[in-house]
């Protein structure tokens, strides 16, 4: 289930807060974001910005590295929590 708006917002958040070593446009759905330079510090800021953008809270079980390792895994979590 690919939602263009959700995807665009995730990319915008990653661009603003991910501190990636590569342009967001070059990321595919399964690019390893940590491999692309996102630190654990930056991933916390990504989480916060996603919660603000989509007006929801990640559940405790989602607060782990694997949730934030790719655009695809982030979208799955966002979709599950917002029903988007």
């Amino acid at each position: 289930m690919v939602d263009g708006t959700v995807d665009g917002t995730i990319r915008e958040v990653l661009g603003d807060h991910g501190r990636l070593a590569v342009p967001v446009e070059t990321l595919t759905d399964d690019t390893d974001l940590f491999g692309a330079g996102m630190t654990s510090h930056a991933s916390v800021n990504v989480m916060l910005a996603l919660e603000d953008a989509f007006d929801f809270e990640f559940s405790e079980k989602m607060l782990k590295k694997s949730t934030f390792e790719s655009i695809g895994s982030i979208r799955a979590a966002v979709t599950e929590m917002t029903g988007a």
Binding site: G37, T39, E60
Partner: protein, 387 residues
């Protein structure tokens, strides 16, 4: 009594015996000269205890983390430098056991068990400001071999180690946070010492700086990323096993304080010594410390059984909290014991001297600075949901 027990006893009993018979008698000299506790490591090696955490299938002792923790408490009571060396070694061994899945690393683990190798660690780097989660140095891989040069501000006991686990960027193109761990060993390992280690405490850890140059087969790079290994193994085990060492320091200080108060009581039967209430309060602190280390070991083992929970924010916050609590408690307890024993503890030539305990204890908050750990927890708490 059952006679089927191994004659040499449990891992903890054997470590405790070495603590009493070897590490304790050498502790003052190790501290005074700031030298490596070679006799303690030789004794552990002779007993096969350097591979205690290696599974029996790979030739190791198959001990639990709790057994090793108990052994480190015993060793920490007699010689904190020895105990810290052994703790750091076991942390590295655990990383290999839990994350060294390829045939070359499996073979190395068997070799380690057979020869009782001692492992050191090089995670910090000149220029990263103490942030072990970023590296400047990078692996250069060509034709199945890696090449690496790292400016390491600290590699504890590097001269006495058989191999060093080193963090580096995965490749020259990788961002600073994309790190791996690589096993560096002779003959492909060259260490050029930089500076001396003349510190207040933990003097026997010989934590000098080095320029490390290494080459080796590419399959000596651990397959999982350093970030995952750190989260799931290196960081929680460091905090658990360091805390065990510090608990040993605190335990010995409390023993001295109790003996001091009891000697006072014997001199004047019927009169409760002035320091006896403070001793009672200090024993409360010590019991908190014991229980915290035990419950943290259980927390780790439960999370490990669930797998994924090791990388949860709540677990990370808890393990960081353990480190901060125990590094503070060890100082608090030693200071209380000094108030109990008075000048007898302040003197360096008294049987109640707590000089080395105090000097060693003060290092606990600094090895990975508590302020850095608290900053990490502060950030994780921005998204933590609570238990």
């Amino acid at each position: 009594m059952p006679t089927t027990m191994t004659p040499s006893g449990s891992v903890c009993e054997r470590m405790a015996a070495i603590a009493d018979e070897v590490a304790g008698p050498a502790a003052a000299d190790v501290d005074e000269r700031g030298r490596f506790p070679s006799e303690t490591i030789a004794a552990l090696r002779a007993e096969g205890l350097l591979a205690a955490l290696v599974p029996t299938a790979s030739g190791g002792g198959g001990a639990t983390l709790t057994e090793v923790s108990d052994g480190l408490v015993a060793l920490g009571r007699r010689c904190a430098s020895s105990a810290m060396v052994v703790a750091m070694h076991h942390i590295q061994v655990a990383c290999l056991v839990r994350h060294g899945a390829n045939p070359a690393l499996r073979a190395y683990l068997r070799e380690l068990s057979e020869h009782q190798y001692l492992l050191a660690s090089a995670t910090t780097e000149v220029g990263t400001g103490g942030d072990v989660r970023s590296s400047i140095c990078a692996l250069e891989v060509a034709d199945g071999r890696f090449r690496l040069e790292k400016q390491a501000p600290v590699i504890s006991y590097a001269d006495d180690a058989d191999a060093v686990l080193v963090t580096a960027r995965r490749s020259a193109e990788s961002p600073v946070s994309d790190q791996v761990i690589v096993l560096c060993r002779p003959p492909g390992l060259e260490l050029e010492q930089v500076g001396e280690w003349n510190a207040l405490g933990f003097r026997g850890t010989c934590s000098t700086g080095f320029v490390l140059r290494a080459t080796g087969e590419e399959d000596l790079v651990l397959t999982e990323s350093y970030g995952d290994i750190s989260t799931r193994t290196m960081l929680p085990l460091a905090h658990l096993l360091w805390s065990s060492v510090w608990l040993g320091i605190a335990g010995d200080a409390v023993d001295l304080a109790r003996r001091y108060v009891q000697a006072e009581a014997r001199r004047k039967p019927g009169t409760t010594p002035a320091a006896s209430v403070r001793l009672a309060e200090t024993v409360v602190l010590h019991q908190q410390f014991v229980d915290m280390v035990r419950s943290s070991l259980a927390r780790f083992e439960e999370a490990d059984a669930e797998g994924d929970r090791l990388s949860s924010i709540g677990f990370g916050i808890g393990m960081n909290a353990l480190k901060v609590s125990s590094s503070n408690l060890v100082v608090d307890i030693v200071r209380e014991c000094m108030l109990i024993c008075g000048l007898a503890s302040y003197r360096l030539d008294s049987p109640y001297s707590l000089g080395r305990h105090l000097r060693d204890a003060m290092g606990a908050a600094l090895m990975v600075n508590n302020d850095r750990i608290m900053a990490n927890n502060a950030q994780m708490l921005l998204v933590h949901r609570g238990e």
